[in-house]
Amino acid sequence: MKNKIVTAAEAVAGIKDGDTIMVSGFLGTGSPEILLDALVEKGVKHLTLIANDGGLRAEFTGTTDKGVAKLITAGMVDHIIASHIGMNPDIGNGALAGTMKYTLYPQGTLAEKIRAAGAGLGGVLTPTGVGTIVAEGKETLTIEGKEYLLELPLHADFALCRADYCDTFGNFAMLKATKNFNHVMAMAADTVLLASEQVFEIGEKDPDFYQVAGVYIDYIVKGEQPWQI
């Protein structure tokens, strides 16, 4: 079967100016750093970025930028779609300067919008955000007397995901709190890149060792590293 194992540079080669990408991670934890590094190296512009937050700046980590902060620091992102941007001041400052735009969704809504795209749903009804500015411009439906917002799917050209383990088919597993958006994002993009700390041969592990099906994964990159605290 098709070989999915590539270098980080090969994996991100198809990402081009103006693309929409989704990147997993929660303040950097669970983000595929080697893919982000390769993308910064490649240097595309005008990205729309879907991510939980803006990652962490080097000033905060005491070492280097973590997660999607790398892309923002490099000036590659025109528009971020996220649930929280307060930890990366570059976003707020970029918005004030007019160099960057942001769209905010409640975190659960963001997760469901991404999942809806991956699951072929036309949208979901959520009670979250009813009666707030999040509801502006959105259709509301009343079901059995309770009001819901219709939230539409959120799809990307590329998804950049992180695993602790995978096999060469792309079946993958994430440990502890690194899971966050890795599963739903792997479902919701045309092309899905997976960076993994370890890559096993097919059949080397029991199938239940893996949490997510490899059918979602297009390219696998070995060598993702633990976060050096």
Partner: protein, 218 residues
Amino acid sequence: MADIKARIAARAAKEFKDGFVANLGIGLPTLVANYLPEDVHIVIHSENGFTGLGSVANKGEEDYRVINAGGGWVTYMPFANFFGSEESFSIIRGGHLDATVLGAMQVDEEGNLANWIVPGKMVAGMGGAMDLVVGAKKVIIAMQHTQKGAPKILKTCTLPLTAQKCVDMIITEMCVMEFKPEGLTLTELHPDFTVEEVKAVTEADFIVADDLKAMEED
């Protein structure tokens, strides 16, 4: 000040029963876990993706895969389970949290809550707050009664809302107020204060419960 926070957290802790699953906001709400009686063990939900949050990790003992929703290194309990964001918010929105404790900038007579944005100031984003207050079975606001003397419990919130009619209880250093069918009700008063003193710093109209109790420190 530390005293006031302790008072509020200690009172909030009394709302918890053994086995409760709860999400505690950053700051004062996190302190609630320190005031639980010995026979009350709760399961703390961390919205970045687990149940069974422990405490802040000791320096040098951090696990790079385990952060809390504020990005801090934390520990987890032996009954912990880790999951994706879609599952984390299914737990929140689906009514699987017995309670959440959060701070607030404003609460109003209708139980509306504003705690995520101040027009003109840098926007941080709502993160998981909007889902939490809509989804948790009991929403407890733990906060100082005023913002440097200015009322925070208002007739109508003036800041953009986090959610409509979502608050069940307000706990401050002065009192406990509950949203009952008949309206916002003062149910407990701290011995240091009088009802008149509470009224003076509360813009919202409220009912004084017939069985008004003393807000006990412990």
